[in-house]
Structure formats: C-alpha cells, structure tokens
C-alpha cells in the first residue's frame, strides 16, 4: 500500500506543481487561471462529446505511452514513436487502398498486421544500429523521425494522392477496412464522435504489455537488461537481442496509432496528422511511472487537456491552447528533476540508473 501511495504521490505532486507554475504564467499575461483551468477540464466530463473526444484523444497517447514504456524498461529511450507511427499509418492506408476489395474479415486483420509490423520494422532499425554498432538510439530515433516524415510525404504526394486534391492525403481506403465507431454499440452515443474500436485495442494492449513484461521470459529478460545490462549479460541474457526485441515491440505499439487514425477516424492517410503523439507519449510514460495502468491515467489527463484546449482558445481573452504544451513541458521537467527527490528519499527507481547502460 505504501508503495502504491508513493507511486501515486510523485506524479500528483508533479502535476500539481506544473499547474501552479502554469497558473502563475496565466496570471502574468492577465487572465484568471481558475477560469482557464475550468475551461480546460470542465468540458472533459460532459456526455457525450467531452468524454467521447477525451477517450478518442487518449487512444494514440496510450499506444505511444506504452511504446516509450517498453523502451524505458529495457533502458532505451525511444524518441522515435513519432516516426514509427507515421510509417505505420501510411502502411495501414496502403494496404487499405491496395486491397480495397478484399473481404473485410481478411482486410482488417491484414491492415492491423501492416500497422504492427511496419511500426516494429521502423522501431527495430535503431535497435539494430545500437546492438550492432553501439550508436545511440536517441540520436538515431530523432533522425529516423525526420526520414519517416519525408518518406511518407513523398509517397503521399507523388503516388497515392487523388490528382488535383489540394490536401496532402491519400485516396480513401476500401470500406471493408473501416473499423466500427463505438457509437454503433452505445445507445445515445453519436457515431460522429470518432471514438472507435482502436480504443478497446489500446486497453487490451495495456494488459498485454503488462503480461509480456512481467509474466513472460522475454519480458523478464528485457527488464533485466534495463536494470543492469552487465549483470544480465553475465546471467546469460543476450543484451543485443533484447535491445532489438524491445525496440521492435516499442515500434509495433507506436504503429498501432495508425489503426485508430486510418481505420477508425479518417479512413485515409492524412499527411502530418500526428499532434506530437510520439513526444506526448514520453510525457505519458514518465507521468505513468512506466506502468501500463499509469499510462492509461496519464493518457486520459493529457487527452482531456488536449480536448479542453479548444475551449480555452475559444472562450478566453489572452490564453491560447498552447497552455496545454506549456503544462506538458513543465510536468516532464518536474518529473525529470523528481528522480532527484526520489533519490534523496532512497527510492529504488532512479532515472539515470534506468539508462546507465547508454
């Protein structure tokens, strides 16, 4: 119980502190922080739009949060979720367009596999580079983000755009590839809200990631590599294999954002769709204390902020929705420095020990 309390206490302190600093900033530019915060959160719990959109925005964040989490648990920092999800979303759309006439029972699983495997592939590249050449995954994932964005934008613009369309997006995927919106099953929940089956998939992934990391041999080896690579190597674990495996799993999770975006929301690949999901995933994993349950809670918080940002833009005098990014940045800063507090208090979790093998 005390362990749970401690796990909850630090994220709460970080969030609270960030809101206080954010409040001071809002005061400084001449608005009332309480009004801003009510706009930010007041709408998040309204039925059906607030809840629907919050859960919809939470879906990609759960995926990217899990992706960053799996990397962290292996002592790796995957800043590349952004690139992985772009590659995967495009691959998903490609399958949905190319095999549009396939039976939905085949097409949808095929699209899912495209998202998962293309994400895993793009994630595995920095894994292999680190395992084989020892080059730093942080730099490589940053570089691969830019390469991914350029690649998919090239294919969209020159090969898969509807001629004459001024918007940089592909042609639509076959209708057989659409996955159901939750409005179909919930009475009183309109289908115009894009919350879809991918949200349930995200929750399932939380469970699967938990089982994978804490109940399987591979997961154990990944965590052993993360907590002490030399001990793991000594104990007969191939650290190199674990690095590649962890990065591939991480990329696969990030890739599943494509399922939500392409199969459940826009039904095509839309260039530049990601609202910094990959980077917010870092905040989600850190705030969620690198635990799947924490990831869900943190994703809900950031999703609510993202949805509330629209209302702040519309109804406040000076504050813009940029306050959401500001709060996010401050939260991560506090969490980063929090490793220090924890270290002082003698906690076992320490950020730089987590990454000591870099």
């Amino acid at each position: 119980m005390t362990k749970l309390a401690r796990e909850l206490l630090f994220p709460l302190i970080a969030v609270l502190a960030a809101f206080i600093v954010g409040g001071i900033l809002i005061l400084l530019i001449g608005d009332n922080p309480l009004v801003t915060y009510r706009l930010l959160f007041g709408s998040a719990l309204s039925w059906p739009d607030g809840i629907g959109y919050t859960l919809f925005h939470a879906t990609p964040l759960i995926f990217t949060g899990l992706a960053v989490l799996v990397g962290f648990r292996c002592g790796l920092f995957n800043i590349g979720a952004e690139g992985q999800l772009y590659i995967a979303a495009f691959a998903t759309a490609w399958v949905g367009i190319t095999f549009a006439n396939l039976n939905p029972w085949l097409l949808i699983p095929f699209c899912f596999l495209a998202a998962i495997f293309s994400g895993a592939f793009w994630g595995a590249i920095p894994g292999v580079l680190k395992a084989r050449f020892g080059s730093h995954e942080v730099i490589n994932t940053i570089m691969l983000n830019f390469i991914a964005v350029a690649l998919v934008s090239y294919f969209t613009q020159y090969h898969y755009k509807v001629p004459g369309d001024p918007i940089l997006q592909t042609s639509p995927i076959g209708e057989g590839a659409h996955i159901a919106r939750l409005g179909k099953f919930i009475p009183g929940f309109p289908e115009r809200i894009p919350l879809n089956v991918a949200f349930l998939l995200a929750l399932l992934c939380c469970l699967l990631v938990y089982l994978f990391l804490w109940r399987t041999k591979w997961g154990y080896e990944i965590r052993a590599t993360g907590s002490n690579p030399s001990a793991a190597e000594y104990g007969g674990i191939s650290v190199r294999t674990q690095i590649v495996l962890a990065m591939a799993v991480s990329g696969a999770l990030a890739g599943m954002v494509g399922i939500n975006e392409v199969l459940g929301y826009r039904y095509r690949y839309y260039d530049g769709f990601s609202d910094n999901y990959g980077f917010t995933g870092i905040a989600v994993a850190l705030l969620g204390r690198n635990h799947p349950v924490g990831v869900i809670l943190a994703a809900l918080l950031f999703a609510a902020l993202q949805h509330g940002g629209i209302y702040v833009d519309g109804f406040s005098e000076h504050v813009t929705k940029d306050i959401v990014q500001v709060l996010q940045g401050i939260i991560i800063l506090f969490i980063a420095a929090e490793a220090f507090f924890k270290w002082v208090l003698g906690g076992r979790f320490s950020m730089h020990r987590l990454r000591a093998n870099v």
């Binding site: 900033l25 001449g30 830019f146 390469i147 813009t320 940029d322 996010q328 991560i332 800063l333």
Partner: protein, 327 residues
Amino acid sequence: MGFGRKVLDASFESKRMRDIFTWSLIVSVAESTIRLATPLVLAAFGGLFSERSGVINIALEGKMLAGAFTAAAVTYAADTRLGVGTASPWIGLLGGMVAGLFIAVIYAVSCIKYKADQVVSGAAINILMIGIPGFLSGALFLSSGSTPQIPKDHLLPQSPWLIALVILLLLAAISYVLYKTPFGLRLRSVGENPEAADAAGVSVSRIRYSGVLLAGVLAGLGGAYLSIGQSSLFTRNMTAGRGFIALAALIFGKWRPVPTLLACLLFGFTEAVSILLQGVYKLPSGEDIPVQFINMVPYVLTIVVLAGFIGSSRPPRALGIPYEKEK
C-alpha cells in the same frame, strides 16, 4: 557569309549567356548555403560546448525557438515602443541571446544540480518551447503563434559574405578557446573523464554549467538570426527541426569545430538545393520535383556516420552521464 557570321554570333552569345547563368546560379546557391547554414552553425557550436563538457543537448531546438521568438518580439517592441529604428535588431539579438541563456539555466539546473536525465529534460524543454511562444504571442500580439512583421530595414544585416566573415571569426575564437585555453582543456577533460578532472581539482559542475550556458547563448543567437535575419517575423515552430539538424551536424562533425562547420555548410547546401529545385524546376507532369529525398540527406548521413560506416564518430566518453562526486 553574313548568315554564317550571324549563327556564330548567336551561339557565342548563348554560350556567354549560359556562362553568366551558370555563374550566377553558383553564386546564388553559395550565398543561400551560407545564409541557411548560419543558424545551424551557431546552434551546433553551442551544442559543441555543451556536449564536449558531457551534457547531451537535444534541447537545442527549444533554445533556438526561444531565441527566435524573443528576438522578433524584442525587435518589434524596440521598434514600435522605443523608436530606436535601425538599432532595434541589435537589441532583439541581445534579447534572443538572453532567452537562450534563460532556457539554458533551467536546463543546466535540472541536469547538473538535480542530475535529471538529460534527454528527458531536453525533451521537456523542446515541448515547453513549442508552447511558450504561442502562449506569449497570444497575450502580447493577440495572434496565434506569430509576431508582427518587422520593417525590412530594421533587420540584421544579411550580406552572406559579411556573415561568412563573422562565422569564420567565431570558428577561430571557438577553436582557440577549446584547444588553447585552460578552460577548453578542462571542458574537454570533464566531458571525457570527469573523475580524473575532479581529482585534478577541476569543478566538474562549474565547467558543465559554463558549457551548457554558452550553448544556450549560441543557440539563442542562431534562433535570433532565423527570425530577424533570414525572415522578418517569428512564425509558429519556425525552426522546423533546425536544432536537430544542428545536433546532427555536430555528430557528423565528430564534435570538432572545423568538421562541424563543414557539416553545417553541407546541410545548408542540401537545403539550398531543395529550395532551388522546388521553386524553379517542375517535373513534366507539372508536379514539383520530389525534394523529400534531398531533405533526408542530413539525417541519413548522421545515422551512417554514427554507425561508423564512414570513419567513426565517437562521442565524448562521459556524454549523458550525470557526475556524482565520490564521498
């Protein structure tokens, strides 16, 4: 006879025209290479100080954004409120440096004093700096993320050859500081072997503070050049990844001043070429030439170099590891 002469003239004329065209093309590409490389050089030199002292700097992007926004906002304010006219960009430039320094202080305190993870703090700074300019411009200029336009004659000098001279002087100064002064020696030793430097009586944290703060000033300067030199206002996320390209150039340049400068020029050149191709030439289908592949060059090269395919690029040994004094 007369006819033959005419043809000869015409071909001579067209060859001369072609030469002039080629020459002016070369000059214009060279000039835009220098202009585009300048913000990269400034930020990369900043990153050099920070990383040689052992502190990873993925926050260059955020510091450049801070510098770019502040420089444009201060220049605009100096222009309209103080009415200092042509002096305003210099005040703006100072503002940009101070903003970079301010962000660097936050970064340094969290990484050095509180031993926070450098990559996590850097990512936090970058996310924060996507938000802050928009947040402030909404309050100050009632705009969504950009500053008002600054008059053309109230910008920094833009002559590429003057800028090239400044960059060369900066290169000389930085090489001198890094390799010929006691401070440079300490900086490098702290980045390679902090324990030994500590044993020799060097204050690891003080040297690292200097490195990170210098990086902030230079990155802020690079950002300022972007908004009040190359452009005439700040626009949302105007650095568009240049902080990361600067980081790439630093790695590609193996953490050394001259190769880093050359890498920045190379990356500036690729950007210049892609802009040139985009504007002037079209494919037969009427589409723009796919410049995406040219844009990828810096990133691909960095990965290749980091993996050791073309010579090896070895980071400072203590890069990214917070130093803990033995008790």
